[in-house]
């Protein structure tokens, strides 16, 4: 851990930002920090179970309808998927840098990196919007709009059911994360986070990395089915 630049040591914590001080029921900052990380890990554990239900449904239906799922997967734009994957991994990098900035008391850097993360998240969501609209135009959105030439229609629609629910919930988690990150930017700008007390940023980092990891699983399972075959 590098030495903190001088400005961080003199920046006082505004009284309006009292929540960022040590809470009354903790005996020390350390205890508060440990509790906060533990809480976030538990929250992520339950998120794993939440998405786990979806992955279970995916496994069941893909085993039943392997061929149809391959057909559905072929309709997805792999290039956009790869770009999105890179964008999201990049955003995890910027988020990790934001955490480093918080650990080393670089107030402006925290804000800069988090804004970058939000922007990259925005790029991801923008590309997803492009993909979703394309699906709508190609009549691949489940429901009355859906239309598939050929015999596998019902089963290909199941693939798209799962595609939209899984990527949709993932996107929702991203949006929530980005909103919280925006609030954190404002707080960071006001000097709320110090090297001693920045567990909010670390926790947010954990959450963002989790959202990234979910995508790492979603991408091959949705975009890359049957691509190894000619």
């Amino acid at each position: 851990m590098s030495t903190a630049p001088p400005e961080a040591q003199t920046q006082p914590v505004s009284s309006k930002l009292r929540p960022w001080g040590k809470q009354h029921h903790f005996d020390s900052f350390d205890q508060q920090q440990e509790a906060s990380y533990f809480g976030m890990w538990l929250f992520l554990a339950q998120e794993v179970m939440f998405f786990g239900g979806l992955f279970t449904a995916y496994i069941v239906y893909r085993t039943e309808h392997t061929f149809a799922f391959t057909l559905g997967s072929r309709e997805l734009d792999v290039q956009l998927g790869v770009i999105n994957t890179a964008v999201l991994i990049g955003s995890s990098l910027t988020m990790a840098l934001a955490v480093w900035a918080a650990q080393t008391g670089r107030r402006k850097a925290i804000v800069a990196f988090m804004i970058l993360t939000i922007l990259l998240g925005g790029v991801f969501l923008g590309i997803k919007t492009v993909e979703y609209s394309a699906k709508w135009e190609h009549h691949l959105v489940p429901g009355p709009n859906f239309h598939w030439e050929g015999s596998q229609g019902n089963r290909v629609e199941m693939f798209f059911n799962l595609y939209f629910v899984m990527t949709g919930l993932h996107a929702l988690h991203m949006i929530i994360g980005m909103v919280i990150m925006a609030v954190a930017c404002w707080w960071a700008w006001r000097g709320a986070f110090t090297p001693e007390n920045h567990n909010f940023i670390e926790g947010l980092g954990l959450y963002w990395h989790f959202v990234d990891i979910v995508w790492i699983f979603l991408f091959p399972l949705l975009y890359l089915l049957g691509r190894n075959v000619g």
Binding site: Q23, A35, A45, G53, L54, N161, L169
Partner: protein, 544 residues
């Protein structure tokens, strides 16, 4: 003992000080009010059901109305009473005090969890005001997604929110127990109530999200015709059952584990003796939490699930029964050579032992595949789960409420009426639900609005018992309420029980302890405390 008059109840007045509180004790009171309300509403529906079932014809209400009554009874009782009650009221109030902490790890999340729970209640209320739901609390597809004409989505959102509240409570409990224990309070010095809530927290965090996603998918199917569970849309209705029961079986352990935690406290306090096999009981709680995740398929033996999967589930269900049985034996053994008082909380505890044994063993019968194929979806199952949920969880809740009432309110309740109610509850309960075992084996199915005449006499017994049971619940409602104003003021430790919560005033000050206590005693070491008292004037471990 605190000499001040300020405590958590009177240090701040006004609605805002309650609705924006982050004091775990006030949040517990908020939960107390809400769960009581939902319990009474669910109980009202139960009363209507039992009245209807006095006659074989469905002549009091129409079939559609009856279907909504039993659905709402189930939804309210399970999601809005049984799951939040003991953790939300007693757990919230006592856990920090029992470990010598000033509050939960995340007080604001604690308050948020109550608000989220109430929001869930609002969605449920919205559904009720619009005619209710008629799918059964189990929401089996495709009926719930493609056939029911009631407010399924609203109810599902209500359940989702109640579940989210439960998850946050679980996170809070786990982190609090790990991180906020007072110095000297090692894991094996913790009260068993704390162990129980810790194990419950694990289930809340890991199981509830699966219910959440199942409800999301069910809503998506109903609203957008996204066919995951409806065969007409290419889906699989048994997949719904697997996902649903993956949560709903561990959910019953969310209900019973805190009750068992209360039981350990009651037995030890009113036998003035350390629990027999403390470590085994603690380990049993965690074992139940873990094994409870592996048995969900025993709800699905006749669902067209593979019989080989059924065999595995049946086997594992037998395993999960063992730690529960061991707890019963340990509680019983604690009474041996104890100093047993017959105070109201102990009456509830002793009743629990008997009723939980019956409930648990009939559960083992249901886990036996060959028996289940006959009694599945009959009143045998209804009787079984009421024995464990009402005869056990609710009795433990009432026993605990009475035991800690002086601590929570600073008042004593009238003993005579309390004991009468305990007796009425025990007698009324058995009269209501024992005949249902017979009805079940005779073949009376569940969720039946009208039934063949030869089942009538047993149904009449059951409904008669329900009126006694109802009375047994109403009387405490009255005297507990009365006691808050007119009850005798309580000292800090009216039953001379062992535990950190009894070392502080009744009611406790807002910050629980003036200084963080330093714990040197083993749990429930009544003997050591007695020795120390005889040797000294002041008991060791007193925070002052």
């Amino acid at each position: 003992m605190s000499a001040e008059n300020t405590n958590y109840l009177n240090n701040n007045y006004g609605v805002k000080s309650w609705l924006l509180t982050i004091d775990h004790k006030r949040i517990a009171i908020l939960y107390l009010i809400s769960v009581t309300f939902f319990f009474l509403l669910g109980g009202l529906f139960a009363a209507l059901i039992r009245i209807e079932l006095v006659t074989p014809a469905g002549d009091m209400v129409q079939a559609d109305t009856y279907n909504r009554l039993f659905t709402l009874h189930g939804v309210l009782m399970i999601f809005f009473f049984l799951i939040p009650a003991i953790p939300g009221v007693l757990g919230n109030f006592l856990l920090p005090i029992m470990i010598g902490a000033k509050d939960m790890a995340f007080p604001k999340i604690n308050l948020a969890s109550w608000y989220i729970y109430m929001a869930g209640g609002l969605f449920g209320a919205w559904a009720m005001l619009n005619g209710g739901v008629d799918t059964g609390w189990t929401f089996y597809t495709p009926f719930s997604t493609s056939f029911s004409n009631t407010y399924v989505i609203s109810t599902a959102i209500g359940g989702f929110l109640a579940g989210f509240s439960s998850i946050l409570t679980g996170i809070n409990f786990i982190v609090t127990v790990h991180r906020l224990r007072a110095p000297g309070l090692t894991w094996f010095r913790l009260p068993l109530f704390v162990w129980a809530h810790y194990a419950t927290g694990i289930i809340q965090v890991l199981a509830t999200p699966v219910l959440a996603i199942t409800l999301v998918l069910m809503i998506a199917e109903r609203a957008f015709r996204i066919g995951i569970f409806d065969p007409a849309l290419g889906g699989d209705p048994v997949l719904f059952q697997h996902l649903f029961w993956f949560y709903s079986h561990p959910a019953v352990y969310i209900m019973i584990l805190p009750a068992m935690g209360v039981m350990s406290e009651l037995i030890t306090a009113f036998a003035r003796k350390r629990i027999f096999g403390y470590k085994v009981v603690a380990a049993a709680s965690v074992t139940i939490a873990v094994l409870g995740f592996l048995v969900w398929g025993h709800h699905m033996f006749v669902s067209s699930q593979s019989p080989y999967a059924g065999v595995i589930f049946s086997f594992l269900s037998m395993l999960v029964a063992v730690p529960s049985a061991v707890k019963v034996f340990n509680w019983t053994a604690t009474l041996y050579e104890g100093s047993v008082s017959w105070d109201t909380p102990m009456l509830y505890a002793l009743g629990f032992i008997g009723l939980f044994t019956i409930g648990g063993l009939t559960g083992v019968m249901l886990a036996t595949m060959g028996i289940d194929i006959h009694v599945h979806d009959t009143y045998f199952v209804v009787a079984h789960f009421h024995y464990v949920m009402v005869g056990s969880v609710l009795m433990a809740y009432l026993g605990g409420l009475h035991f800690w009432w002086p601590k929570i309110t600073g008042r004593l309740y009238p003993v005579f009426w309390a004991k009468i109610s305990a007796l009425l509850v025990f007698v009324g309960f058995n009269l209501t639900f024992f005949p249902q075992f017979l009805l079940g084996y005779l073949g009376m199915p569940r969720r039946y609005h009208a039934y063949p005449e030869e089942f009538q006499v047993l149904n009449v017994f059951s409904s008669a018992g329900a009126s006694v049971l109802g009375l047994g619940y109403l009387i405490p409602l009255i005297y507990l309420f009365w006691s808050m104003r007119y009850g005798k003021k309580a000292t800090s430790n009216p039953d001379d029980a062992f535990g950190l919560e009894w070392e502080t005033s009744s009611p406790p000050p807002t910050h629980n302890f003036h200084e963080t206590p330093n714990v040197t005693f083993e749990a429930y070491d009544y003997a050591a405390r007695e020795t120390a008292r005889q040797a000294m004037t002041q008991p060791v471990g007193d925070p002052e």
